[in-house]
Symmetry: C2
Subunit: 250 residues, 2 copies
DNA sequence: ACAAAAGTGTTTTGGGTACACCCATGT
DNA sequence: ACATGGGTGTACCCAAAACACTTTTGT
């Protein structure tokens, strides 16, 4: 029942009625971004530029986390990146909200209907070789997302909600921080994602209670101000000391 | 690409590679229960009794919430019941963990692999006409779930985690309480679901702050002790006063 | 009268929040 | 010397948690 579908230049067997769409959050100079892809859609004789989230079909023998990791690799070149499913979008007409978009996507489908699983992911924009994706993709400001194709605005909104929730309950920040980081870098990251500001002293009091945040015997170099102490995240300590109702709130 | 599959006695077009499985939580005399179905599995010449969660295929033109509601109706006879998706289970071998189980399920599948969306739901066991389901289904104690078929123990575990989280952040308790209820009924319900006990005074102080909990001019009748005041849940007030970071913790 | 659950206040403790100044470094 | 971000402590308020007795009804 799996179908041969064109996936790039290869014929690969995929499941006909399930796809994965990825909301790839990128952190770049204290701003939260989202990766969107440009498509050119024929439209009443003209061609319109439209944007969508990256997605792909699920292959016959992979689980959906693998599909999501594959999309991450295709879009960013990065591997072993954290991906997390957050919601299934199953409106039978979800691809038909705009007739031209549907005409465009129809030849790529094995069925007239596709249920999609939404994933989100977190990367450092500086880890990506952005020269390779600049033509078809764009890092859009997470707080100014334009109209996307299909139900992709819904998918983005749900991803953002889930991201914020998860950040308060799991050590996700560290996916976006370098190996060694300063407390201010960590604070700025929270501020970008929650679109707010925190009091520095209260913030530090809170994070200083986190036993898995290890102060290193190392400080920043090359900054023209008092260099900050570097910290690292100790996942072992986190795993061993986490409690049922963990709280990353800052 | 949709497939004609036998659904009971009717041929109904369904999507080949997606199903919905439901964890139906039932509240019964201060105990939390889960609905499981009995199946007889041929096993080395014998027939074994096994248990699984109720599930079904997704029809060609329905969204998955409709599939879940349909399963609820089939299993309990109840309609307009709250259902909520919580996770997708997509291990390509999820149906093959036990060879006999797979042999049993294979003829019911359009593909050798099915990705399933987990839903949970909440009902009052007393609302169900249990005489009709007694032969094939059973209300199992949520704290003593036996081995289930396929990956259904994983599905149950995730459902229970999500139920507990959602109960603290959404007004789900009221799905399980009658229209008019006492504060003690509400407390017992939390205690059953979180498997704990609360201090009555602290509990009441907390819930008395909830503006959407309306004390009625009505008290219990027919109890051989001081009758308790009845309360009702006002969804309008809840919707109008809910804030970003709502907290149902008690 | 007694059994059974309803209903009610106070104290202690810890966390959240608001707030301002000196320090170390590069230029 | 100055600009820049790093780093620190205190006071107030409120919510969480621990804890025991009186009230009302049915039998």
């Amino acid at each position: 029942m799996a179908n041969k579908l064109s996936d790039g230049n290869n014929l690969i067997e995929t499941l006909p009625s399930i796809s994965v769409d990825c909301v790839i959050f990128g952190y770049d100079e204290n701003k939260l971004k989202v990766l969107v892809r440009r498509e050119f859609i024929p439209y009443n004789g003209e061609v319109h530029e439209e944007w969508k989230l990256p997605g792909n079909h699920v292959r016959k023998n992979e689980d959906i986390d693998h599909t999501a990791s594959r999309i991450l690799k295709e879009q960013t070149g990065l591997e072993n990146i954290f991906v997390k499913q957050f919601m299934v979008f199953s409106d039978p007409d979800r691809l038909k909200r705009n007739a031209y978009d549907y005409e465009w996507v129809k030849p790529r489908l094995a069925d007239e209907r596709v249920i999609t699983v939404g994933f989100y992911s977190l990367i450092n924009v500086s880890d990506v070789d952005n020269s390779t994706l600049i033509e078809v993709a764009n890092w859009a400001d997470a707080y100014e997302i334009k109209d996307l194709m299909f139900d992709h605005n819904d998918i983005f909104d749900e991803a953002f909600k889930k991201l914020r929730y998860d950040l308060l309950h799991e050590p996700l920040v560290f996916e976006l921080l370098p190996e060694k980081f300063t407390l201010t870098q960590m604070q700025k990251l929270y501020e970008a994602i929650f679109n707010t500001t925190y009091d520095k002293r209260n913030y530090r009091r809170k994070v200083n209670k986190m036993a898995y945040l290890i102060p290193l015997d190392e400080i920043q170099t090359g900054v023209s101000h008092k260099p900050a102490r570097l910290y690292s995240f100790d996942r072992d300590i986190y795993e061993n000391t986490r409690t049922e109702r963990f709280d990353f709130r800052v």
